[in-house]
Assembly symmetry: none
Homo-oligomer: 218 residues x 4
DNA sequence: AATGAATGAGAGTTCATTCAT
DNA sequence: CATGAATGAACTCTCATTCAT
């Protein structure tokens, strides 16, 4: 047994969990948690069914591992992205939205929101984890950004928490739609154009302006 | 044998499907289609498992019946609501959003979007039906409303189809969130306030204005 | 209520069991006992499912009623037929076979042997009844006839019990085949011609003759 | 880990299907296809219910496997038997019948005809297969044998196709009877003696002879 | 570490049977 | 006498999980 062989073997061993998680993600996203058969996960990961149980206690644990493994780096990166930017809040928001889509828009990861929403009822703990560590954190950092914009006179006065939700909702909804109903929708849906419209309307709606429109701010 | 006695039985036969559908909706929304056991549906509807099969061919048929039975009236009502309103486009939109929530916000019906999105992959036919007859129709009527606003100089020039999507996305997302992650979210989420913010930002973002903000319209 | 109405009603009431039995026979013969649904029996008999239970304790009882009701008259008739004939044993046998087919060959009754054979294992009591009262009696009367033929020098010496079985086997087999595999058989099978061949060979095989053929009688 | 241990397991995998088929045959023959519970098949085969599905897609597939697995060798053997014999047609027939019973009379295989006849209506494809590949082939080879006997002056002129049917009918009927009503029959039934009588009568009925019996050949 | 044959609890579904009307 | 809505036990089939190898 030459050393390289052993190395390859070792590397394989170290990569197994990741390969299984990747396979599971794709299937969970495509078919839902319950409709996904471990047989299929094993086949797609190129291992036997029994091997799954060497790395994950059971199907639920695999699901949790999928979410936790894939979600955490995304969060880290997002927060770093935000802290790395400078310039006006508007500019930041605009760049964030665009770059978010460029980085995760086409990846399998983008199916996670739909998956978690679908299974939240059956996995309370996981739902709690996701709300706290993903949604909550992103919402908070966005809210802070908007708050800063308001304080600096760039934005109109408004509730930054809801504004943050309203910035994020159409983005998340796009990922959900893409992984559920879009395949059955005959109307064209170009996410980048949709996001541009979103930024345009949202920022126009938020910036301070000599208001002569007659629209009542409630 | 008093007439009322006979009626009680007769009425049950007429009401059974509705009771079953109601029970199924609640469980499907809460746990998903696959994770819902017919045993539970039966118990919640107050009938035996076998009785389900008197009214629905199988589990799938029950699912379709849930969607089709509950969705059609909703569509009719929505379209009528829109046609009944008059006034400026802004006014209309503002009223529509508010009244939509008042009418369906608390009902079980509100769980349908999450349910359909979760199961779209496993029920292509149903997904197609929903996209075409529900989402499509609402989107179209909203897009026309916005188009009118643009033509009459009330709104800025923009793609009305995407604008319609962006009006609806936060609304639908609210219902989805409510039936999935909200129970695990510690932050307060008042839908009416959220919707007010939405209308505020969205309409401010859309109305024609002497733009001196420096925000670039793409 | 005119009397005739009442009469018709009465007659209907008296005929119900017969109609149910007739319907059950057809379905039992066509699909077997277990594969026959009482729903279908009821529908074919033009009554409700519940009505079956007014006349028959359960499905098994209905099966037994079918056999007992339809089989007894056939036996009576057969025995009378035999006693009514006179002439040589050969002549009698020849006529019996031909007339048997003419009288029951095309009727639904002809499906009974296959049905009883198929279900014998699940209905020991019925099987015993059939063996004793149908098969046994017919076999006995035929054996006696052959015995008489032997005694009178018309037939060769042989075991009349087995000879009777051998006369009957191809006849019964024809009914069984007709109700099972014949529909899937591409070769022509004309029962009358087949029976003629049977009589021809059987009687030639049985009659006393100056044996110069070299065939060894065991 | 001794080699034999490993083999024991390996062998089980290879033998499982055969064991299951054997168990299924016995139960199908005794109770019919529908009345046979997979629970029982599993128990008799010494495996769990789930194991059945490792080897057979469903109950129907198991049924077809039973027939096809057991029938093919039988056909091969039968045809070989026939080709191996020589001598006069009478002699051949006599030996065939006797040896057929000796080889399959007591085996479980002998239950197949009853089983197939009972379920023909519910398994048209299988019925067609059996008629074509088993019954048809045997009938044809026998008919040819009789035809040869006629041409060589050994047998009287007759329709060889029907004669073949008449040779086979009492044989097949014996197997059917044995697996259905015989257990409920109090009269003795010795198949070998019955078959001897059959050969005796059948051959006497078929051989060319100076006919002075007065029996009319139709 | 990895396999895959085997398991068995539990799901959806069927249908003979009951009983209030 | 007749109905048919309702039942629930029993079936076939699935699949997450285990364990001898």
């Amino acid at each position: 047994m030459p050393q390289t062989e052993e190395h390859r073997w070792q590397r394989r061993k170290a990569e197994r969990p990741g390969e299984i998680i990747e396979a599971a993600l794709e299937l969970f996203v495509a078919k839902g948690f319950m409709a996904t058969r471990l047989d299929e996960v094993a086949k797609r990961a190129g291992v036997s069914k029994g091997t799954l149980y060497l790395y994950f206690e059971n199907k639920e644990a695999l699901f949790k591992a999928v979410v936790e493994t894939l979600v955490m780096p995304e969060i880290e990166r997002t927060e770093q992205q935000i802290q790395a930017y400078d310039g006006s809040a508007s500019e930041l928001i605009s760049q964030l939205v665009t770059q978010w889509w460029e980085s995760v828009g086409e990846s399998h990861l983008c199916g996670l929101p739909k998956l978690i929403i679908s299974e939240a009822g059956n996995f309370p703990e996981l739902a709690g984890f996701y709300v706290e560590n993903v949604i909550g954190r992103v919402r908070r950092v966005i809210a802070e950004l908007i708050q800063r914009g308001i304080e600096e006179g760039e934005f109109r006065a408004c509730d930054p928490a809801y504004a943050a939700r309203l910035l994020l909702a159409p983005m998340v909804f796009a990922t959900i739609y893409q992984h559920s109903l879009l395949p059955y929708d005959s109307e064209p849906f170009e996410v980048p154009a949709y996001l541009e419209s979103h930024i345009d309307i949202f920022l126009h709606g938020l910036v301070a302006t000599t208001d002569n429109t007659g629209v009542k701010s409630p």
